[in-house]
Amino acid sequence: MTGALLFLAAAAVPPSPAGPWRAALDLAGGPLRFALEVAGRPGSWTGTLCNGGTCNPLSAVRVAGDSVVLEIGEYDATIAAALRGDSLVGAYRNVGNRGPRTIPFRAARGRWPAEPVDPRLVGRWHAEFLLDWEASPRLLEFRDTPRGLEGTVVGKGGDYGLFWGRTAADSFSMAHFDGSFVYMLTGRLDGDTLRGEFHAGLRGRTSWRAWRATDAPHLAPPTEVTRADTTAPFAFAFPDLDGRLVTNADPRFRGKVTIVDVFGTWCPTCHDAAPLLVELYRDYRDRGLEIVGLAYEVTGDPATDGRLVRRYRDKFGITFPLLLAGRNDTEATAATLPQLEGFGAYPTTIFVGRDGRVRRVHAGFHGPAVPDLHARVVADFRRTVEALLAERTTP
């Protein structure tokens, strides 16, 4: 009876989160191990997150009943878990610009043991990550430390941070988790070769293999593209809604300032931009402005696309030509406008000077939902048109 009362009394007191924790994120490809340590007392908890010898303080530790929330403020990330005796079970959550990312989290009281490192692994390895059917070079480094296996992965953009882990028989696993980046390298020694998977985030998995390195791999920097060709007049040639071919060489565009509006009737932001183009055409046509709309539509079927574009024309009272330029996929658009490198957004507004060459490319548009910015882009477009109209034609 007394024992039962003592048990009930003990159960009523929430367990303390204080102490070291063997933590893991359950990635799709296996557990990523790291260490947590919570210290302090109710109302003033602190914590650290460790990958082997590298530890960083948590920005906040909040405990309410059996709820424990560990905040990694630098990355706007949290680990929220339920404390049940000697275990924590919950989820790691990091909010990116495209939404939240969640990975299951669990921890048990205690410290990960420092396990002996297989000496055959230690040193530098020249790796090939098999990413999207292409071999991409990386450098792997493994070190035997008092904390166990440590190392890193080096790519063309630098290293991936300190990894910590363990070896077991011919296999190894080491990981880097700092609250934002979630990386784990797993593999197996197969003779003179290492083979394995690189895990990134909850689901990312990349196969790799490696050999003893002789020197660091060299990687070319990524290329930057996206601009308009201004060395020649901007060329287009597409049928209008009556099937007549309209080109940049037609008399109506000769010596004029021309706005080429790359749009689609399926694109809400294009609907926001259309009234401004109608206004500009009304206000500046007499001074030498021409506008042509290039419609990139869903079906590619002229009859269906033509009907949609007519509805669009009638909705906005458009009197400038609208041409059926093609289907709205990126490759199709790029293929029909070879002078516009790196096209990727609807609408795209191309301002062409009186000499037929591109002066400016504006991707996207601010609609009237945000009045100040809409007014701003309206004024900006007007200024651009006025400046181009004021340019003299080079003889």
């Binding site: 799709a28 490809g29 706007d76 909010v95 610009n97 495209r98 939404g99 939240p100 969640t102 990413l131 999207d132 059917w133 292409e134 991409s136 979630v182 990386y183 998977e197 990134a200 689901r203 990312g204 998995r205 990524p222 290329t223 930057e224 593209v225 996206t226 689609g264 009737t265 399926w266 694109c267 809400p268 932001t269 609907h271 539509e297 869903v298 079906t299 269906t304 009907r307 909705k315 709205n328 996929d329 990126t330 490759e331 199709a332 790029a334 790196g342 096209f343 990727g344 957004a345 609807y346 609408p347 991707a363 996207g364 548009f365 601010h366 609609g367 939902a369 100040d372 910015l373 701003r376």
Partner: protein
């Protein structure tokens, strides 16, 4: 012996429905987290105000600033050697790329690569509609081995959040729905990043008739050993569907099925009604 066999069979029969239930629960959790983020995040697409190009510099705040923001005194943004700096009320701060920084009642997120930075600006009340979804449908979860891409290499694509990114051709996902085969181009967006999603921007017969007109995005789930899961219940709209602050990404060539894929995110509002792929007058 017979008890062991019977027990094994029972376990085998029980595993599949349980796995299906887990899968459904996981997708519903993911949707709930996404909805909560859209409704509560200071950087929700539904709070987006603008995404100006940083270029030679931007001013924010007063009525004559590049981006007028009510209640904010003059703030200046500039890029120096790839670093985005914010000057406001006598102090200068460095804004980390891809992460939000508070500025008065607003949030700023520099995006894109050095020299081509855009600054996403968020603030104010929620605008637009909350997402709505089709019921979870376990029949619209497929698995396959990814085939090599027909044309390996890189391509520039519009992303879910209205940026322009270089993507790698990651392969082809071949599947079948209701006896109709399809082949979808799969791209790693952005290129080269191991933690990047393997994305499919696809169109189907529901587009313009209950789903976003210009197609939806869904990310493949790697299962190891070259196998991937395509769960249409996880399909989502690009952010352009929530706010015209985001440019609309252009759909990918060929990634269309003539069947209605009644799974994932729905859409109501914006644009004209567009006929679904294969529809004829």
């Amino acid at each position: 012996m017979s008890r062991l066999v019977a027990g094994t069979l029972l376990v085998g029969l029980a595993v599949a429905p349980a796995a299906g239930q887990d899968r459904r629960a996981e997708v519903l959790r993911e949707r709930a987290a996404y909805e909560e983020w859209l409704a509560t995040s200071p950087v929700s697409p539904r709070r987006a105000i603008a995404r100006p190009v940083l270029g030679d510099g931007l001013t924010l705040g007063p009525g004559d600033a590049d981006v007028p923001l009510a209640g904010l005194s003059l703030a200046q943004l500039e890029e120096v050697g790839g670093t985005v700096r914010l000057r406001h009320e006598g102090t200068t701060r460095v804004l980390p790329r891809g992460r939000e920084t508070a500025l008065g009642a607003y949030r700023l997120v520099p995006l894109g690569r050095a020299g081509r930075t855009v600054v996403a600006i968020y603030g104010g009340a929620l605008r637009g509609k909350a997402p709505s979804w089709y019921d979870y449908d376990p029949r619209l979860v497929l698995e396959a081995t990814l085939e090599p891409p027909a044309q390996p290499g890189r391509v520039r694509v519009g992303t879910v959040d209205g940026l322009e990114a270089e993507a790698t051709e990651a392969g082809t996902f071949a599947g079948a729905l209701a006896g109709t085969g399809f082949r979808f181009t799969v791209r790693r967006v952005p290129a080269d990043a191991e933690d990047a999603e393997l994305e499919i921007h696809f169109r189907d017969a529901t587009n313009g008739l209950g789903t976003y007109d210009a197609g939806r995005f869904v990310a493949l789930e790697p299962l190891g050993n070259g196998r991937y899961r395509l769960d249409f219940n996880r399909a989502r709209n690009p952010f352009c569907a929530y706010s015209s602050a985001f440019p609309c990404p252009a759909p990918w060539r060929g990634n269309a099925v003539t069947l209605p894929i009644t799974a994932g995110e729905r859409y109501a509002g914006g644009g004209l009604v567009v006929p679904a792929p294969g529809a004829r007058e």
